[in-house]
Symmetry: C2
Subunit: 338 residues, 2 copies
DNA sequence: CTGAAAGCGCTTACAG
DNA sequence: CTGAAAGCGCTTACAG
């Protein structure tokens, strides 16, 4: 393949001058530039990214660190991976997929081998062992997911508290005074998924503020168990006629449970949910819900990281992406009987 | 960070000698090697992959080309991405995620910029525009998914025909003489997803060979439509008491439809399926099924590609990964009433 | 077995 | 505005 030297010879200039038009960092006479561009086109030349990286000590590559076995658990993962790669490319960056079981050593290797300029950590949990080396090396990185203590590292996540308020308000605005909240298994809270309690706490607070009774049901894990828990919660006497769901498994099971109970939505019960877009799409869940907006989160993460690369010493940013409500007529207006 | 020069100085040898122990391509006196290794450890040195790539003209990186908007459609995509990255790493390769809307230009850029040594194309369809540039450049690549005409390019896929035979045999072995086959919408066949017709044709052939009547139901796309089609097929008078499913949406909807129809599995109807592992796991589908085995497919794809890198002129390989049946007691033995 | 030298394909001060 | 030179951090014949 052609090198910068071939182009220089073809255009009758020096390699430096070719480099100047390649990088665009220096002014080149229009007519010289034209000759060089013609030579580039003629030889079908493209710059060797690796050589450029060596010369500039910038790889123009971001490392995307996925947690071990993540793929098994999150149907939305692919959406984030693709969205991040797309966003990175728009800024001229490539994305290296780092999936090592041991996330720490994945990071150490990528950093030590200078394979990437910065890192994006997906699905960060509270005591994420991947955060250690990041802080230790002071390596440019952004977390997707919001640990309670970000330790001065940049982080981006959906604003789950705002999402909860949006949903509670939506129900309250339609006259609901009593709502069941189906939420995550206890393990999820215990394992430091702050999104779970950010949502729940905000839902409880907002419900209190709106004078709404909110009955929390922690669904167990396991499809059948989730179904059982939902069934029990919805069929018990005096159960609320509104349901707020923050649990993908529960959202997926819900149509079947409602059918079993002969409950029509929204005639018999109003439903509002926060679930992954993937889920809604695949199973056509017909519930008013908050969109998780993976593209917005991915875009913000990439932008924060690129800002960080430009300004290593700027204060850390914690960005919460505002949620949006997608209405699907699953909430009806009720007249409170006082 | 330390360079090879620092290590050489620390160990009192030349850079060449350090390089020899790094690459392992030359013999080095044990005591010299020990000194060098000590220096490496002391300085916490790692080789700069970019510089090595420039010197060797091998990037040790594979490009993973994902189709545009793939993420929206395939819940199993993440599984493949992670499995491929894992397999690549085991062979010393990194994985660059290429998601450009225009797959062709993604390939051209990665190839032209010498960012990768080879390419893995995910979810290949019959007239995949990405295959053109591969063939044109004679660039090392492997297709995951099997077009009818691989045009001399390496390809790896699950053996869908064998999967169909496995499932038909399983039903036939349990005495079923009449089976409904719920399969993909017509668009899927039209869009060159050969897995769809490889499965269907083999199922029809094997059913004929086993003396089984097979009623094909092409489910439409869209969750509600799938449900309707299943409902109609299973509720019509004289419907078969065995169901073979090759359609993720149908598999996902099936529990609800069966419940609506008050059909117990396997008491009233036997069910066997080929669906993504993701799906089975998330929704706990309790059906005997063929595992799609993403790890095996990913592993084979990476190995084929690495063989190709070593032997650019070897004949193309088309590898079909043998399927495995996972029994889940959803098929019962019936006594044929002749 | 070890080392000096050249080279991989770029960029970037620095002269002119 | 353009070019000669040095350098990025490696590897690899080639001598010794």
């Amino acid at each position: 393949m052609a090198t910068i030297g071939d182009v220089a010879r073809e255009a009758g200039v020096s390699r430096s001058t070719v480099s100047s038009v390649l990088t665009g960092r220096k002014l080149v006479l229009p007519e010289t530039r034209t000759r060089i561009e013609a030579a580039i086109a003629k030889l079908d030349y493209s710059v060797n990214t690796g050589a450029r990286a060596l010369a500039t000590s910038r790889t123009m590559t971001l490392g995307l660190v996925v947690r071990f076995h993540e793929a098994e658990f999150s149907p939305a993962l692919a959406t984030y991976l693709v969205a991040i790669a797309d966003a990175a490319r728009e800024h001229g960056y490539g994305v290296l997929l780092l999936t090592e079981v041991d996330g720490e050593s994945a990071i150490r290797r990528a950093v030590a081998g200078r394979q990437v300029d910065g890192l994006i950590l997906l699905s960060v949990v509270e005591d994420d062992p991947r955060i250690g080396p990041i802080v230790e090396f002071r390596f440019p990185a952004v977390l997707v997911g919001m640990p309670a203590d970000t330790r001065g590292v940049d982080a981006v996540d959906l604003d789950f508290a705002a999402a909860a308020r949006l949903l509670v308000d939506h129900l309250a605005d339609h006259g609901h005074r009593e709502t069941t909240l189906a939420t995550w298994p206890d393990e999820i809270y215990a394992s430091g998924r702050t999104y779970a309690w950010r949502f729940r706490n905000a839902a409880l607070d907002q419900a209190a503020a709106r004078g709404m009774r909110l009955d929390v049901v922690s669904c167990p894990s396991g499809a059948e168990q989730v179904r059982g828990a939902l069934w029990a919660a919805l069929s018990r006497p005096g159960a609320a006629r509104a349901l707020l769901v923050h649990n993908d498994a529960a959202a997926a099971m819900l149509p079947m449970v409602l059918r079993d109970l002969h409950l029509e939505v929204p005639g018999d019960i109003s439903v509002a949910s926060l679930h992954s877009a993937e889920l809604g799409q695949h199973y056509a869940l017909p519930y008013t819900s908050v969109d998780a907006q993976p593209e917005a989160v991915a875009g913000q993460a990439v932008e924060v990281l690129i800002r960080r690369l430009a300004a290593p010493d700027a204060p850390a940013e914690a960005i919460l992406v505002p949620p949006r409500l997608a209405l699907r007529s699953s909430v009806r207006t009720v007249t409170p009987q006082s």
